[in-house]
Symmetry: C5
Subunit: 319 residues, 5 copies
């Protein structure tokens, strides 16, 4: 088998794309397709690319994420930025959506995040309970719902079951589902090389694909070094990919997502050039969109606006 891996590795190292995988609109129902077109054409950079502004960190990390730029604690900051910079939409929880979206209805698409948790407990059994329903998303005029699934968590079974109920409700109501596909928990650290390791991010993308997410949100994968994975363990084959570039690692992930679209997270804060480089890398790897949060709204409004426009322009060129 190592020969075959080597051959794929060779192709990937040479930047040659083995197959073309991407979001396939024609496999979707009419409602789901119509909503996606709001995100892919009517708003955002267009060209089928999606540029989302997520603002769920107040729940996931706590309010100290806003210390660096206090005005960002009020959703008005993100909504007016999304409107002015031309984002595809804003992703947030029901509490914020209900209070702020009326004013922006029809102008900034809403991705209603349906589950979440605090980070007070250590991550030994990560699981995010539902705090809203797909029907509530429909009532609020949302164009997609978001769901965090902790791949590999000791509570993975409950999570897949809960996701499935959301996916079924979303199909019934013609609503796209974006899976925040996050490897997490002690087994991911002990056996999987860590939450951002290529094996884990790659697995998360395939899971989103097999489970029927319309789009998935993943972190940029960290390419393996020699011996990153236990030579007897289930992910040993990734050791043979040591030396892969970041772009090729992400290409592998896009490929594993199949007909499920891929959005890449921004993660914690980078400087301007690093962020633009990251965006370029993602687009070169063939992703369907970017979902940068703290890297945008932890900047002052003008800086955030300027940088968002640069990224949008880059997406329009790649589209």
């Amino acid at each position: 088998m190592s020969d075959a891996v080597k051959s794929m590795e060779d192709k990937l190292k040479k930047g040659e794309r083995v197959e073309r995988f991407h979001l396939d609109l024609d496999s979707l129902g009419p409602g789901e397709k119509r909503h996606l077109q709001e995100l892919m054409s009517a708003h955002g950079p267009g060209q089928g690319k999606i540029m989302l502004l997520p603002i769920d960190q107040g729940l996931e990390h706590g309010p100290s994420d806003f210390f660096v730029n206090p005005p960002a604690a009020d959703l008005e900051f993100q909504l007016s930025l999304a409107l002015e910079a031309g984002f595809s939409g804003v992703a947030c929880h029901i509490g914020l959506a209900e209070r702020h979206f009326r004013k922006y209805a029809g102008r900034v698409p809403l991705v209603l995040k349906l589950n979440g948790k605090t980070n007070i407990a250590p991550e030994d059994r990560p699981f995010s309970p539902l705090d809203a329903s797909v029907e509530e998303a429909v009532r609020l005029g949302a164009d997609a719902v978001g769901y965090t699934l902790y791949v590999g968590s000791p509570q993975e079974a409950e999570d897949i079951a809960q996701f499935t109920r959301v996916r079924q409700e979303a199909r019934r109501l013609g609503m796209p589902v974006i899976m925040w596909a996050y490897p997490r928990g002690p087994h991911v650290e002990a056996r999987g090389g860590g939450r951002d390791s290529l094996a884990m991010v790659d697995y998360a993308a395939r899971l989103a694909n097999e489970l029927g997410a319309t789009l998935c949100k993943v972190n940029l994968p960290r390419p393996p070094r020699g011996g990153s994975y236990d030579a007897q363990g289930p992910f040993q084959d990734y050791n043979a990919l040591a030396g892969l570039s970041e772009t090729d690692a992400l290409r592998l992930v896009v490929r594993s997502a199949g007909r499920t679209g891929v959005l890449v997270s921004g993660g914690s804060r980078l400087d301007d050039q690093e962020l633009l480089d990251k965006a370029r890398l993602c687009l070169e790897a063939g992703v369907d969109g970017l979902i940068f949060g703290r890297n945008i709204w932890q900047r002052k409004y003008e800086d955030a606006l300027r940088l968002s426009r640069e990224i949008r322009a880059m997406m329009q060129k790649t589209g």
Copy 2:
């Protein structure tokens, strides 16, 4: 990031309010708004301020809370006090509400507390099960429901899920939801600086905001001292706020609650002057109301009446 924190800290220390956050009635449905006006205008101090009298301690702490003032064990004490002193309403459980409220219907608004527990078990997995439904609150003529959510508890996921079912039912029936937003449990102590630490109370307020509580009830936060939080932990940024005044700490919390209104608990018993000082501090910090229980009804009826009227007058001046 420490510069940015310092700048916010500077503004807060100077008493300058970065943004104005408050309960936003226009984002609510008509039923929810109508009920809130009972609490904010038709009863209580008016001026949009809410002054609630909670009497759920018999369940939460046991009957010894009444030893200091035995007549308070009978809800008649609180109801006639609320009527005479002009409270916005009384918060209690279904057992008491069903037996006592008929006589006060239309004269003292009811906040039906929907979940609770005893304190016999140690608080290693705090969670309060439902003991009544939103429909029962409607049947009893209540103007709001109360729900205790133990933020950071090992059972936080079950708690968010249960709260969400209550919130959805409340939205369906036009009923405001007051979240008793209480950080609690071993992780809150080990990682969060304790149940009343600023980081925890601040997080609780943001959670109430993200999850769509109409109002939240929080404890007065304890400002950080240097090194209150683990320098590698998720709440390290609060260390930079060491030296913050109690008022500014509460301002931060009000801000994190966003468009969710904030009520402050009274806690265990203070003397008259301390209680009035606490009320003043809360009002200066911009809260939407006070919910003092034991500090009122653990006093003799005449003392409780006099003190309640002083607080009410203070709220009318600040409104």
Copy 3:
């Protein structure tokens, strides 16, 4: 606070009743009131007093409870005794009720016990699952349902939730709910002074009151001795009540039950005089009824009949 406790203690020691609490029929719905009148007037001693004969010990303790008086294993024993001695009703589980009550329908009221368990497992997580529904009680012509709630159990949350579903169904169908309010489990022993300690029985009565039980069944509380409770623990205030008489301790419990009526259990077997003394003590403390089981049916039929009639006469005098 210790002064206030001392004052209440003084009043209680002098036998002075601080307030008058009792079952309040006017706060009940018409169905619930009608059923209670079967137990309080149409059958039993009358005068608003309830005298129940419970026979669920075969499930709770096993059949060896009948060794001392083998005929009592057949419900015919209890039913003919209840009819002849003039009890308010018989409390038992569905299996017995379905087979035996047809013959006594309209002559001996039925209290259908809805949950139970064996005592084979040690009591580390006490919880009694439902074995029948309120609807089945209605179908069998019952005049009340019984529910055991283990106050302070590690499964208290599941128990309150299950009780609440029963209470809601009972309200919907106009059926009184009698809560067997039993402090139980390791926390009750470690922190609460034991299952029959005053602090625990007092708490159980208040919980029945807050949760909306129509009546509660409690054990006779054991008054505190000095240092019965941990001086730092949640029940320290009960230490100040050391030296309270048994009657006054029970008065305190009746008071904590508020508008929820109080029935006292018989417990394990006493001799005739002890039992009559216990009954007298309970009536002096103002309880609404007695629910003596083993102390009645572990006696030969004639002895049980004679003793029951003596207790009934005593209740008629006190009513």
Copy 4:
């Protein structure tokens, strides 16, 4: 109390039956009675006696139970035997019933076993999940359903709750319920004297009675020896019954089952004479039927047929 126990012990030792307990058809609904008459009169030995052939051991023990007589792995073996030997019916799970019963419909009554499990896991938390419903039993033309309840298991609460849902559904559809009343698990061993100890089997019979089983299936109880039970434990009173004969021990159990009928299991394999002796003992003790499985179908067809006819004849004489 020891005098009373002694008196009962004396009576039992003398073979004198204290009371007459048995299945009471007149307390049943018309559907339930009609189905029982199929088992008690229309098929089997008649005289109100039930003779069932259970074949659920392939699930409970695995296929090696058939090694000794391979043809018995096919339900045809049991069905033609039941028809030819005149059994009251065959008890099996849905998978076998659906494939084989069409051919025997109306000729061999079906008892559909509704729950089961493998024996791969050790029995530390025994619990059998449902694998079919009462409605499916109705659809298949069954005359009773079977349910295994592990009395005293750490999962006893879930088991009672699940049984109750089955019993309620069975009542609604007029279907008799046979409880496999099996003491099982670590507490049964540690405190109860073991799964076949008299105290445990006696308790199981009473539980079936209290919970409303139509019939119960129990193992032959093992009479106590001196000190079988902890002198401080809940079952100490059984020590006084040391020396009881097997027949009298079973009489005690029949008595505890009250109006719930009693069927006795065959257990692991005995030789012909032992089996006939066991059957005789059971009938003398007053049971309502026998449910011998492996002792029948682990024999060659001819042997099984002959032995079944001998037992049937014995039942007809005792009926």
Copy 5:
């Protein structure tokens, strides 16, 4: 009993089949039968034999299963192969089925796999949650559903309960159910001789039979060596079968499956001759079909096509 085992062992060693067991179409409902005929006659090798191509390994093992043959990550590979080589159908999860099957509808039958999990967590409590429903299978035009049940897992009870809900829904909608009957977890290793041991695979087949699976998928069992099983344990009788051939071991399993059809898994990769030998062995043992996945699609398209045709031809000869 050892004589009887010896006699069966003798017969099995001589290749003599004790009884004839197989899938019995006449015991099925019309819908279930119609769907099976798609798999057994209209497609695949015919002759009542089923040849399925499973592609759920991306979820169960992760995307590295495709490293050896990257094009196989896209379901187009399997679908065009299934069409060209004449498979009975393709088994996959909802995400893949929804995106790819429209093009092949009516040409390649779909077996919708309804549950799954990742292999990131160690297998201490294996359980696969549902990710789709039987109704969704109907909507997608599937001809069967697949369900993985981990026999012997500490979560076996939840698994049987979940399977039962699927089976009931499938019966209601006339859909065949294929059980991936997999012994798994710590008890299987500690007491059962390991996941592929004869005792475990044999037990899994019987469980599928008792629980009403239409077909089951099992691994090829590993015949016992002397002392494979604990001489005191529940599977000791299998020790007497030491020396059994692989074919006879599988015959035993087919026999335990009774009227439930048996499909054999391919497992991890074999060379061409080994795979053909395995197929032949299975057919000789009387299985109803083969379900080889990685052994097919981990080969290059042409190799996979050639080998699939060889296996199909072999099945047609044996049918």
